[in-house]
Amino acid sequence: MRIKAIQWALSAAVLAMSASAFSAPPTPAMLSNACAGCHGTHGESAGPSMPALAGQSKISIVESMKGFKSGERPSTVMGRLSKGYSDAEFEAMGEFFSRQKPFTTSQTLDRAKVAKGAELHEKNCARCHVENGKEIKDNSPVMAGQWVKYLEIQMADYHSGKRKMFDRKAERMKPLSQSDLDAIAHFYASVK
């Protein structure tokens, strides 16, 4: 009871000093929770075109945000939204989402596409997207369990040249057909 009274006195005092004049800068959670309206609570996205961020690697989130901000990575809303934050805030958000329990989407996948995608992955992607896209190497993202629709939009951006890629990725990706890319998306989405 006594502790509670002290807490109340403290909170009343903080309030009396005018909350916004004596307040701390936004915490990682304050920054990141605002993203959840589109990316789901803690980054557990329920919308197939919005990537799940829960359990994503910090570096991949930071690099994505920097890419959106510079315009190097194409986007709809993210180019503008990323301009609202500093590099330090990108780091804070990356840290926040990377610490969340990895989220596996629940979606209907085509078995034949998954099998075909597994072969294509082994041949073309496995050197960088290690452990079937579950682990990260350099700044490659975690892709295992991601939404098919999101992966398809990303690959379409690469394939059309809208999104730049380094030479080794381009060498591997350019010869692939639309149905190949589709199969690869299904494969990564299937990895648990």
């Binding site: 909170s11 309030l15 916004s20 915490t27 329920a46 809303v77 301009k83």
Partner: protein, 432 residues
């Protein structure tokens, strides 16, 4: 300890000098002034189960399981205003994709639900009066949405006019009524849409509605058109994109007339009067009345000098009029943030964070919020507006971070795909 009717009245009489108990007379005769849920520990009461209230309740519980949260809502479900224009335009069979219930949210987070109408708030004794009894709180979050300033439209009766001339600005039966009227309208009849002066709920909403009704007319009533009477001097939001969309898809169907303020209505003849002078008659009339904060915020004395909206601290969303009461969503004055569902979502999280900080004697954390708001122009094309918002400490208000506010470069099918995912995510965030 249960407060009986007599001791409650005594208590409120004592508090009468400092704070007024509002709406006491409207509490029912069946002992509804009794404490419906005696408070034993720390408690936050959240009023309103929409875009703001559900999120505030959820995030308080996620951040501190030792705070009891009671969510008070008069309905057992909520229908989203965002996307309801798509239903009106015929792109949705029913309102089920826009409807959420509260059972999973309550079970997942241990939120206590009270389905009741809130009739009054006593700020001094920190008590909420509901149709089922009273509730004590340490902090109260009001997310009441909007109500209508019908007194500014002569001839408008809140009980009967919307049954003939729907506003459809609170989603649910009104939305269904407007679509039914459109379907029943003779080909060649005109739709009249009246837009109030800003600020109102969802700045691009009336123009999206114009687009969706025009799309419906083009397909089903090719001889009809929609006359838009806008009280504002110009299109309030996403102007270039709406004009582009109307030219591309609805040339000759949309008759947009700026600076036409509807001041009078005659429901019987389905006629509206512009500035009391010009008669405009429609086969279907969709009159969106001017707005203010939801009734309970007005009754609780939380509206500011403009008598319409609730001034709040931009970091805690605590009312600048009554301590311990926080107002979020459309009802509050959130600086540069628009009155949108996404804004309410962001405001709710910041409010929840800082209520938990206040209740634990911790430092208040600066607000950081986002708005993203999609509008459909056709069945497959959408546009959006974005912004990142922070507090300007010198001006003590919420401002947009430079460079973050902007709209889509063009009508876009990709934006429509993202819009669908936005809806899924935000409704699931509110209901689980």
């Amino acid at each position: 300890m249960t407060i009986d009717r007599r001791s409650f009245l005594k208590m409120t009489a004592g508090a009468g000098a400092a704070g007024v108990l509002y709406g006491c007379a409207s509490t029912g005769p069946s002992g509804s002034t009794a404490d419906v849920m005696p408070k034993t520990g720390r408690r936050v009461v959240v009023v309103g189960g929409g875009y703001g209230g559900t999120i505030a309740a959820k995030y308080i519980r996620m951040m501190d399981k030792n705070i009891e949260v009671v969510l008070v809502e008069r309905n057992d479900h909520f229908v989203s205003c965002p996307f309801s224009n798509l239903y009106i335009g015929g792109l949705m069979k029913d309102l089920s994709p826009l409807t959420i219930r509260y059972d999973k949210l309550a079970a997942n987070h241990g939120i206590k639900l009270l389905q009741a109408e809130v009739t009054g708030v006593d700020a001094a004794s920190r008590t909420v009066v509901t149709s089922k009894g009273t509730l004590k709180y340490d902090h109260l979050v009001l997310s009441p949405g909007i109500d209508f300033r019908t007194e500014e439209v002569k001839g408008y009766d809140i009980a009967t006019t919307p049954e003939v001339i729907p506003h459809a600005w609170k989603a649910g039966p009104q939305t269904v009524l407007l679509r039914k009227q459109l379907e029943a309208m003779p080909d060649g009849g005109n739709v009249v849409l009246s837009i109030p002066l800003a600020p109102f709920r969802c700045p691009p909403g009336p123009y999206e509605r114009t687009s969706m009704i025009a799309m419906f007319l083009k397909q089903h009533k090719p001889k009809s058109k929609i006359i838009v009477l806008d009280a504002n001097p110009d299109i309030v939001s996403k102007k270039g994109l709406f004009l582009k969309g109307w030219k591309k898809h609805y040339e000759g169907i949309v008759d947009y007339r700026p600076a036409k303020k509807v001041t009078e209505v005659d429901a019987r003849s389905k006629t509206v009067l512009v500035e009391g002078l010009e008669d405009v008659r429609g086969a279907v009339v969709n009159l969106i009345p001017p707005q203010r904060a939801g009734q309970i915020a007005v009754a609780a004395g939380l509206v500011g000098a403009d008598k319409n909206w609730c001034p709040v601290n931009p970091t805690t969303f605590e009312s600048t009029i009554h301590k311990g009461i926080h107002v979020i969503g459309d009802a509050c004055v959130a600086g540069a943030m628009p009155k949108s569902g996404y804004s309410a979502n962001s405001e709710a999280k910041a409010c929840a964070t800082n209520i938990v900080n206040m209740m634990n004697g911790r430092e208040i954390v600066d607000f950081s919020g986002i708005n993203t708001c999609y509008s459909f122009l056709s069945a497959k094309e959408a546009v959006e507006v974005t912004g990142v918002y922070k507090v300007d400490k010198e001006k003590n208000t919420i401002i947009a971070v430079p460079g973050t506010v902007g709209v889509s470069p063009d009508l876009s099918e990709l934006e429509a795909i993202y819009a669908e995912s936005w809806l899924k995510n935000i409704l699931i965030e509110m209901s689980t």
